[in-house]
């Protein structure tokens, strides 16, 4: 059974700080996706990483896919209150997508 483990589970920081959250698996994934979910809403796709070692940047967010395609990280530079939310990593399992339990990020001003 493929599993995605995310850490930390909770993160509470001040505006302007940098942070990194992690997504790990014992299985190889052909790709990984990162979603952000705000309270009362469904998850929204941030990025898809496909190639081992790939780095993608989305404004202040930097996503990296591990060389062995078993792990990924999300780094946020100079966090803002608008970054608050649940960050989920997801990977394909068969024809569907499985999700990790997520990292709940709270950024206070």
């Amino acid at each position: 059974t493929q599993l995605l483990e995310q850490s930390p589970q909770f993160l509470s920081i001040q505006e302007g700080e940098n942070l990194t959250v992690y997504c790990n698996s014992s299985s190889v994934f052909s790709s990984l996706q990162w979603y952000r979910q705000e309270p009362g809403e469904g998850p929204v796709l941030l990025v898809t990483v496909v190639t081992g070692g790939e780095v993608k940047k989305l404004k202040r967010l930097t996503f990296q896919f591990g060389d062995a395609r078993k792990d990924s990280s999300l780094h946020i530079t100079a966090a803002q209150p608008g970054d608050t939310g649940l960050y989920l990593c997801a990977g394909p399992a068969g024809t569907a997508l499985i999700f990790g339990k997520g990292t709940t990020l709270s950024v206070s001003s």
């Binding site: 052909s30 996706q33 989920l88 394909p92 569907a96 997508l97 999700f99």
Partner: protein, 115 residues
Amino acid sequence: EAGVAQSPRYKIIEKRQSVAFWCNPISGHATLYWYQQILGQGPKLLIQFQNNGVVDDSQLPKDRFSAERLKGVDSTLKIQPAKLEDSAVYLCASSPLRAALSPLHFGNGTRLTVT
């Protein structure tokens, strides 16, 4: 384009009662998913449809949960009878392709509370 529509937004029922959720996916999206998200956890796949056929329902508790997607568009998810542990947000998602790289578009979910 209009997003994935779900209703109702909230539902409170007593255990052993039945409940139904409705989902209207993005127009043209062939694949539809129902996920269950318990508070503080990631979404867990319940069932996946490709058009009006079931692709994967291996994690659907079939003794109490049922789902259908007649005509390959709208879908309903039913729970009968509900248990306390069914309290969760039920998310519907759709995608244009049944592929690993195809992003999922989620609705805002139905929050179910079973008392």
